[in-house]
Symmetry: C2
Subunit: 170 residues, 2 copies
């Protein structure tokens, strides 16, 4: 997970082992960029809003659903297991940012919604978040950003739904 580890990594660092293909350099750099930005986001969410990425993500889900979302919806949308959604939601409820409301017609389910305070807090976070991201890419011209977006699109395409390797031993 650590960037500089790979920077110093003989297998991954082409400065030291020129025989390794360019792809390794490219991968290293891609990973470094993503980690740099993500670490920054986490640190700032923590430092400025005392929150975490999953909590931010959950609130982002709710922001556009004033009517609320069920726990199962959140689980699907966030691609996270149900137990985790319960935990994240519990934290947000404790902070008064989110509330569980009864769903009529199904007494098993809750509708999770932002509270008024939650909406307020989220708006501030989302504005800051947007600025951080804009900053992160301000080294690129709009033209370059577009090119980068396109190239990453191809990478994404080639890598999505990659076949999971069946375990050979276990």
């Amino acid at each position: 997970m650590d960037l500089e580890a790979r920077l110093a990594d003989p297998v991954l660092d082409p400065q030291r082992h020129a025989e390794h293909p360019e792809e390794l350099r490219l991968w290293l750099r891609l990973l470094t960029c993503a980690q740099l930005v993500e670490k920054n986001l986490r640190a700032r969410l923590r430092g400025e809003f005392d929150t975490t990425l999953p909590r931010f993500d959950l609130m982002a889900q709710l922001e556009r659903r004033p009517e609320g979302m069920k726990m199962s919806d959140l689980s699907r949308r966030m691609m996270v297991s149900g137990g985790n959604v319960t935990g994240i939601t519990d934290q947000l409820v404790a902070e008064g940012l989110v509330e569980r409301a009864a769903v009529d017609g199904d007494r098993r389910a809750y509708s999770v919604r932002l509270t008024a305070k939650g909406r307020e807090v989220f708006d501030a976070m989302a504005r800051a978040h947007e600025n951080w991201i804009v900053q992160a890419f301000d080294g690129l011209s709009p033209r370059e950003q577009k090119t980068l977006h396109g190239l990453l699109g191809k990478v994404k395409q080639a890598n999505r739904a990659e076949p999971v390797i069946p375990k050979q031993n276990a």
Copy 2:
């Protein structure tokens, strides 16, 4: 950490909220690509070699240091705390891939080295790893790879050593 969460994220997904700047789309895609590839690497290291990324990274460090590295060196190079290096090393020792040798002149320190078996295993892993990475980028021509590498270089430049936000509350 989850890719599709952000895909479905109203704040981050420009398909839904066109008023959000292109940078958010770009960030989302960058993150998705990095996670796709990294998840794949982890799954394959696990599935084919029953190992983890930190274990692989530590062995990669040792591969080019036949004379061995001290725990403190590993800690610095991997950018990970000393306690963690102890844990990772313990696992590798238990597997017979790595050994702690006495350092003469300092009885506090160890020299950690790959065993013969460790070298063998690592060679196989490194070859496979290289192939996985080459595969990950085979959707791009060499020309495109070079362009991507260059653009990511600019992003990296603009984001490295970003000032850490001083905590405001705590």
